[in-house]
């Protein structure tokens, strides 16, 4: 397979990685950079567990080729807490019961961040629409929506 070196900017840090052309961003994040927060749930982009932010917008890392992500700003769940301090959305999920098994959580929190960054006071309906691509088997989404609303009130 074609090997090449690419530069990826992940959580504000630049990495040089040797990849094969067909490797996905998810594979590179998890296996090369040991950033296992983004999860593999389905291999077809349907579950949202691999969601990361590319230039601030949610993207399925399992459907993005690593090479395509070169030159873009990649944010994973590990990059969300600055200097170890939790982001308000993470705090809200913890305090409002938005997390059960935790498998969908990284993707869910990042999707919520992208929403709230562009729409600081989303309605419940807007939140449900935004997270409709993140499947959760445990919660029924009730406390996830509550957590996101609580995060917006904290500012």
């Amino acid at each position: 397979m074609d090997k090449r070196i690419i530069r990826l900017t992940v959580n504000g840090e630049e990495h040089q990685v040797e990849i094969s052309a067909k490797e996905t961003l998810l594979e590179v994040l998890r296996e090369r950079l040991s950033l296992t927060g983004a999860k593999e749930g389905c291999q077809d982009g349907s579950c949202g567990a691999c969601t990361i932010l590319l230039d601030g917008k949610p993207a399925r890392a399992c459907l993005v080729l690593a090479a395509e992500a070169e030159g873009k700003d990649i944010l994973t769940i590990e990059g969300l807490s600055r200097d170890n301090e939790l982001h308000p959305i993470q705090e809200a999920f913890i305090h409002h019961g938005g997390i059960q098994c935790g498998f969908c959580t990284p993707g869910m929190i990042l999707t919520a961040k992208a929403l709230v960054d562009s729409n600081p006071e989303p309605t419940e309906a807007e939140i449900e629409e935004a997270i409709s691509g993140n499947l959760c088997r445990c919660t029924g989404y009730a406390k996830i929506v509550e957590s996101i609303i609580a995060a917006t009130k904290r500012g």
């Binding site: 927060g37 999920f93 935790g102 691509g133």
Partner: protein
């Protein structure tokens, strides 16, 4: 009773790691030299394996081990019960479902492993197969297991009271049938196993609902002592009953690791996860119910046919549980039940809380039908027949704590039943259903839990407990219980759990006992440790141990709160006096040990039972048949909520899983033993857009056995909300489809059929 930590809606101890993305699931783990495993699966639903040629695969560069059941597995028929040993986890000569494991490869990359699979040549002799359980029970059906005539895996028989007399004397007798298709667990996290095998034994990480439950069968399958099978703690992305038993992938990963002399990780695809660990049963029920004019339910006769797939799994339990739950929910005393678990050539089916939908829905629907004919409100029907404390059921189960009446009252009040029933606009309906779930059923020598507690120099405590957490918050629950009992803040209590090497045996997240038994054992251990702390502190405070209490990290003299000493100083004082404080405790369910699912279904079969009431309001589009759930109310008696927020989490998830997922959406489609929709896109898995408001209500009946009065946390809702929706549909349109899920097509068919009859 006012507590510091239990009963409060505190953030769970596991949440921060998950929010940060630090929590490690099995697929996130890696070990030095790790290889990647892939499994070759049978394309036939039923076949003899004649020959397997792995030579080409073995010669592929990068392949480190190739195994087959035929060559590498120890002949071992596994079963949950001694009389259900029908499962060669890695088949030696026969495959019984499409997808069954035939060979496996470990290689330096997933790509190479997959290429190697294609180089394995398997010669099969296809055999006749059967896919429908009623067909499988015919005399001339293909035989799936030679020792099971008519493919009947188990038959559960109950016959209590005088059913025929009660029907003869009934004022109203109703009959009906209902079915539910098979479906899949679809846990968030796809199954994965990491195994490392060396001269000291095997280390395994995998999603599980009870590591001790897997260790014993693995030791038999691998031919090594149980003490050398070490299942370790890992973060688990949901189980829902589908990860309770040892799995072929567990055995295969270990055998690959043994042969390759390096650790092997197998990560399942979404399709593999949904189809080849466990699926969920398909179920058919035929029933007859008898009533008196005043609404008393006097008799019931049920016959269920359960499509269990090719192996027994927890067959006797799966077939019995829905019946037993009915028996502990309602006071009917004349009961007959014949439940058949039947083999078909499909993947094996495990336990799932929502498995009873084709049992529970027709029972609740016929209660409403009877209520309508007899002129009784459905709520009155439930109150009249619903369980009360002190009752002894027909098969001899003793009911202790029971908050069903309060659940019904609170749920119907919240749902504004009186304002709405009979007064909603056309196409709208409201429905009620009740449930009860056992907490602590017989599990033989593995039914108990034990815990140890040690103290660190800083006065923090560490609990060692076998408790397992699949995402429902069990780790936090045990930590809260111990923190409360010891008088320590929650962040000063650490937990080492779910590790068979270190932790004493625990029954796992089986039979709804994590709080009752695992939590109970931890409380015993904490009480034991506290006794020892008080002995030491009493001397320090010049008091008697019985005068002391502990709270907020301090030990006080009651009624003289200024006289106190910190727990930390007490621990150090003990150590300075050559005393090591160590807590130990264990707990076992209080059950009749002679009761057996099949051979003797009589006696106390669980320590206690939770109770709940589901109410759902729906609207229905009469042109499209689409059901829209307007809201759901879920009132559940959990005895006492160790963590109120965690219980609410469970109630909301249960209401959605039951009412929306199972009531309206989920079903597997088949073609000759091949699932057609075993992935997310085609399975029609509901999203956040399909989640209506849920109102959780916690009822506390203070169970006498449970720690702080707590028992099972939410399952009554998971096992009843679909029935509330069914009853709401019946309320709206006067009829009900005869199967779930209640898709628009089925609802329209039911309306059309009803209109023709009328």
């Amino acid at each position: 009773m006012s507590y510091s930590i239990v009963g409060k809606p505190v953030p769970r101890t596991d949440s921060e790691a998950k929010a940060r993305g630090e929590a490690q699931f099995t697929a996130d783990l890696s070990l030095p030299g790790m290889l990647y495993g892939k499994i070759l699966r049978s394309p036939h639903a039923h076949a003899r394996i004649l020959n397997i040629d792995t030579s080409k695969a073995e010669n592929l560069i990068g392949v480190k081990a190739v195994i087959t059941g035929k060559r590498d597995a120890i002949p071992y028929d596994w079963g949950v019960f001694p009389y259900t040993r029908d499962y060669q986890l890695f088949p030696i000569d026969t495959v019984r479902y499409i997808g069954q494991e035939v060979a496996a490869v470990a290689a330096i990359s997933e790509d190479i492993a997959e290429r190697a699979l294609k180089l394995i040549d398997v010669e099969y002799e296809p055999l006749p197969a059967v896919f429908d359980p009623e067909e499988a029970m015919q005399e001339d059906a293909p035989v799936i297991h030679n020792d099971k005539p008519r493919n009947i895996c188990v038959q559960v028989k109950v016959d209590e009271g005088d059913v025929d007399k009660a029907f003869a004397e009934a004022d109203l007798v109703l009959e009906g049938s209902f079915k539910s298709p098979d479906h899949t667990y679809c846990q968030g996290e796809p199954y994965a196993v990491l195994a490392k095998f060396d001269s000291s034994g095997v280390d395994i990480w995998c999603p599980n609902a009870g590591p001790h439950m897997k260790a014993r069968p693995l030791s038999s399958a691998l031919g090594i002592p149980t003490s050398e099978v070490r299942l370790h703690h890992v973060c688990i992305g949901g189980a829902f009953g589908g990860r309770s038993e040892v799995s072929p992938a567990d055995v295969i990963a270990c055998l690959l690791a043994k042969k390759a002399h390096f650790p092997v990780k197998i990560v399942y695809s979404r399709e593999e996860n949904n189809n080849y660990i466990r699926q969920r049963v398909g179920w058919i029920t035929h029933l007859k119910m008898g009533f008196k004019r005043d609404g008393t339910w006097t008799a019931v006769d049920l016959r269920s046919i359960v499509d269990g797939g090719a192996h027994a799994s927890t067959g006797p339990i799966a077939v019995s549980v829905p019946y037993m739950e009915m028996e502990t929910t309602y006071r009917v005393k004349n009961l007959r039940y014949n439940g058949y678990r039947v083999y078909t050539n499909k993947p094996p089916r495990g336990m799932h809380p929502e498995q009873n939908r084709a049992f529970h829905i027709p029972v609740e629907f016929h209660l409403d039908k009877a209520a309508g004919i007899l002129g009784i409100d459905p709520v009155e029907m439930r109150l009249k027949n619903g369980m009360i404390p002190g009752f002894i059921t027909a098969t001899g189960a003793r009911i202790t704590s029971c908050g069903l009446t309060e659940c019904i009252q609170k749920a119907t009040e919240k749902a504004r039943w009186k304002e709405k029933k009979g007064k909603l606009p056309p196409g709208h309906g409201i429905g009620i259903a009740c449930g009860s779930v056992m907490s602590g059923f017989p599990m033989g020598i593995r039914g108990g839990s034990a815990a140890f507690i040690k103290f660190n120099e800083d006065g923090d405590a560490t609990i060692i407990s076998g408790v397992v957490d699949n995402g429902q918050g069990n780790e936090s629950m045990v930590s809260q219980i111990v923190a409360e009992e010891l008088g320590l803040p929650l962040d000063k209590v650490k937990l080492v759990s779910a590790d068979t090497y270190i932790c004493p045996s625990d029954q796992g997240a089986y039979s709804q006992t994590a709080t009752l038994i695992s939590g109970g054992a931890a409380k015993e251990a904490a009480a034991d440790a506290k006794r020892q702390l008080f002995e030491v502190a009493a001397k320090m405070l010049d008091a008697r141990p019985e005068e002391l209490e502990a709270r907020d990290g301090n030990i006080y003299i009651k009624n003289a709160l200024d006289r106190r000493v910190t727990i930390r100083r007490t621990v150090i004082n003990a150590l300075a006096n050559d005393i090591t404080i160590m807590g130990r405790g264990y707990r076992w369910p209080d059950i009749d040990k002679d009761r057996e699912w099949v051979t003797n279904p009589r006696g106390q079969f669980a320590t206690t039972y939770s109770y709940g009431c589901s109410v759902a309001e729906i609207s229905l589009d009469m042109e499209t048949g689409k059901v829209r759930v307007i809201n759901m109310v879920a009132a559940h008696d959990c005895g006492y909520p160790i963590n109120a927020m965690a219980v609410e989490q469970q109630l909301e998830g249960a209401a959605w899983g039951s009412g929306i997922c199972d009531g309206l959406f989920e079903r597997l489609l088949w073609d000759q033993g091949q699932t057609l929709n075993g992935n997310n896109l085609d399975y029609w898995f509901p999203t956040a857009l399909d989640s209506p408001p849920v109102y959780p209500i916690i009822v506390s009946s203070n169970d006498p056995f449970g720690p702080f009065g707590a028992k099972e946390g939410s399952l009554s809702i998971r096992m009843s909300m679909y029935s509330a929706i069914a009853c709401a549909i019946y309320d709206a349109i006067g009829t009900l489809p005869s199967e779930v899920p209640f898709t628009p097509e089925k609802v329209l068919d039911a309306i059309e059929k009803w209109q023709k009859e009328v």
